[in-house]
């Protein structure tokens, strides 16, 4: 379970220098002249993978002037059984590693999936764009051989508990405001390297994925009655930066590496196909309790504005001491790059900004630096539209289909939210149990140790 370098590559043999990747790169990390192979500046790159999604320079099976496909599959750490076309921009895979772990009977394998996975993975099996398939996803993971089918949505709820209370604490104690969300690792890396002076604005909360990893090898070990050392903690993410996040030195508060391997939605589809599983015909199964039980609020993290909406559903109730009148907060949804809202809760008027697409954060950050805002909370998602359009999601072949997929994946996200019994994170019975039986209270000592983190200036 070693970590190789996590980075995005551009295959010099395949790149035609069209520069569509550098057009979508939010941090100008792609360098090269028009018409010549491009390269990634790893100091600037935040691993968002939007370049991977847009790249159309594919390797022709008939081109004898390039390295053979087997060699490329091996270099990219893709399973040899992968059939899909290879493109110039790519990230290094972890599926072979996970496959080996799945075959290891000594390991107790726990897996978590991000909310975005369940609204997109079916696309890799020729089901309609944005098909909602949490049931089949759970069934497939079980068939692959994972022992506990847990879920990032549970820790999304946990993140709301911790982060909601953290915001309230900052509001009440003159803390650093506005508070920034910290669940997007590319955004975090960006702040660390471009705006290190604003690091104190970042919530100290880990991302849901990292919270889950820490929980697996502590609370999860207890629940399963096994030695934490034997636990293999895997995560399926729509994101090409989560592997970088999992490898951050400080992400080991369980006493072990909290997340051992991260694979993307596409790589999970590879594993499923490699195992000969017919995804479309799978029956609907459930995720395992306790760490796989989630509320609708946890699920909407994958759409831009989702973290904010989930946070408000809880924070409103804490501040105003009454339930929020309407659980569906349409006014924070949408796709515009920067959206603002003012939410009256009790005596407070919460001023919120939601940023979709990292490029759009610059104006907000500069205003904050200049002291020109009175915002309380800023949500930033690096990928336009949120994680549903992450660098590791199923890659649309035609440009026109990307907007269609985004729309349907978003719609499925909110449909799933509406269909779940518990709409608010604090109503999740397993969350209540976790605090009662294990963590104590939000922002308590145990939470602080396991669920909160520190950041590093990179300049």
């Amino acid at each position: 379970m070693k970590f190789s370098e996590n980075r995005i590559y551009i295959d010099q043999e395949l790149c035609t220098g069209c520069k569509r990747c550098s057009q979508v790169c939010p941090v100008d990390a792609i360098e090269g002249k028009q018409g010549e192979p491009q390269s990634v500046n790893t100091d600037r790159c935040v691993l968002c993978g939007q370049c991977i999604q847009i790249c159309s320079a594919y390797a022709s099976a008939f081109d004898q002037d390039i390295a053979p496909r087997e060699q490329k599959l091996s270099e990219r750490k893709l399973l040899p059984s992968v059939k899909e076309p290879l493109f110039a921009a790519y990230n290094e895979g972890k599926a072979p590693e996970v496959k080996a772990a799945l075959a290891d009977k000594e390991l107790y394998k726990m897996v978590q999936c991000a909310p975005a996975v369940r609204v997109a993975i079916a696309e890799e099996f020729e089901l309609p764009l944005g098909s909602l398939s949490p049931g089949k996803l759970a069934a497939a993971l079980r068939m692959l051989g994972f022992n506990s089918i847990y879920d990032t949505n549970f820790t999304a709820d946990l993140t709301i508990m911790e982060e909601g209370n953290e915001l309230i604490q900052r509001l009440e104690n003159n803390g650093v405001l506005p508070m920034f969300t910290s669940c997007c690792p590319a955004w975090v890396k960006y702040v660390e390297q471009e705006y290190p002076e604003l690091i104190p604005h970042l919530s100290s909360c880990k991302s849901p994925m990292q919270m889950a990893g820490a929980m697996f090898k502590t609370y999860g070990a207890q629940v399963a009655g096994i030695d934490a050392e034997k636990i293999y903690s895997a995560a399926v993410m729509p994101c090409t930066c989560k592997s970088f996040e999992a490898a951050r030195p400080e992400m080991n508060s369980s006493g072990y590496r909290d997340v051992d391997a991260v694979i993307t939605t596409r790589e999970l589809a590879h594993l499923i196909k490699d195992a000969g599983i017919n995804f479309a015909d799978l029956p609907d199964e459930s995720f395992d309790a306790p760490l796989g039980t989630y509320s609708g609020a946890g699920n909407i993290f994958c759409a831009t504005g989702g973290v904010t909406e989930a946070a408000l559903r809880t924070a409103y109730e804490v501040i105003a001491k009454e339930p929020i009148p309407n659980v569906d907060l349409e006014f924070v949804r949408g796709t515009d790059g920067v959206r603002t809202a003012v939410v009256g809760a009790g005596d407070i008027e919460l001023k919120i900004a939601i940023v979709s697409g990292l490029k759009n954060a610059v104006s907000v950050l500069d205003s904050i630096k200049a002291g020109k805002t009175d915002l309380h909370f800023v949500e930033v998602m690096t990928c336009p539209g949120g994680c549903i359009n992450g660098g590791g999601q199923p890659k649309l072949l035609l440009p026109a289909d990307r907007a269609v997929a985004s729309e349907y994946r978003s719609a499925s996200t909110y449909i799933h939210d509406s269909s779940i019994e518990y709409r608010k994170s604090h109503d999740n019975p397993e969350i209540k149990k976790l605090y009662n039986n294990y963590l104590g209270k939000p922002l308590g000592d145990k939470s602080h140790h396991l669920l909160h983190t520190k950041y590093t200036a990179r300049r």
Partner: protein, 193 residues
């Protein structure tokens, strides 16, 4: 006698950035299934237009649907015919002799393996001798632009190009428009005298 000329697609090298979305769109349009994501693509990508990329020029090249198509005239299997103002190759008649491929002055024809339902289509009888004995051989066909004859929206490449660098030329309309534009330019210069 049918005097309507065959349309064809041509690229503008000034706009082309060499991204290959046209090749992908073409290959996707000719699959026998709906493929939306890279993960849906289980066979080689087989476009019918081909990006030329050198220091001097970057643009895709494809069939011109010639009126006196040399490919059709040289085909000994009578596999190439004009249907609905398109020069089309019948893959079931094609024997893979490659004569059309070397005859085409534009290099617009490739020899491509045949797949059906994501599986290779094998030849009826011809087998290859290998160390493991006789093995089936995959069927091949000559392949070229068919102006997306089976597609209601027309050529997929034209639709997909992010730079709008591909144009479907309807020759007689183009010609007429050019004449009208030329006449209008003259008219405009007269007004200014």
């Amino acid at each position: 006698m049918n005097t309507k000329l065959n349309s064809f697609v041509i690229a503008n090298p000034q706009e082309c950035i060499g991204c290959k979305v046209c090749e992908i769109a073409c290959a996707v349009a000719h699959l026998d299934k709906d493929a939306k994501t890279a993960g849906n693509f289980d066979i080689p990508v087989m476009p019918r237009l081909y990006l030329v990329k050198t220091a001097e020029v970057v643009m895709p090249i494809q069939c011109r649907h010639c009126e006196d198509a040399p490919c059709a005239n040289v085909c000994s299997a009578s596999a190439i015919t004009q249907i609905d103002n398109k020069i089309l190759i019948d893959k079931d008649k094609c024997v893979g002799c490659k004569t059309c491929m070397i005859t085409c002055p534009f290099g617009a024809i490739e020899l491509m393996p045949i797949y059906k339902d994501d599986k290779p289509v094998m030849q009826m009888v011809l087998k290859a001798e290998t160390e493991e004995g006789l093995v089936e051989k995959q069927a091949f066909t000559a392949s070229k632009c068919d102006l997306c004859a089976d597609r209601t929206e027309g050529p997929a490449c034209v639709q997909a190009c992010p730079q709008k660098a591909l144009e479907l030329i309807v020759p007689q309309e183009k010609k007429k428009q050019r004449s009208i534009d030329a006449a209008n330019r003259i008219a405009a210069s007269i007004k200014s005298l």
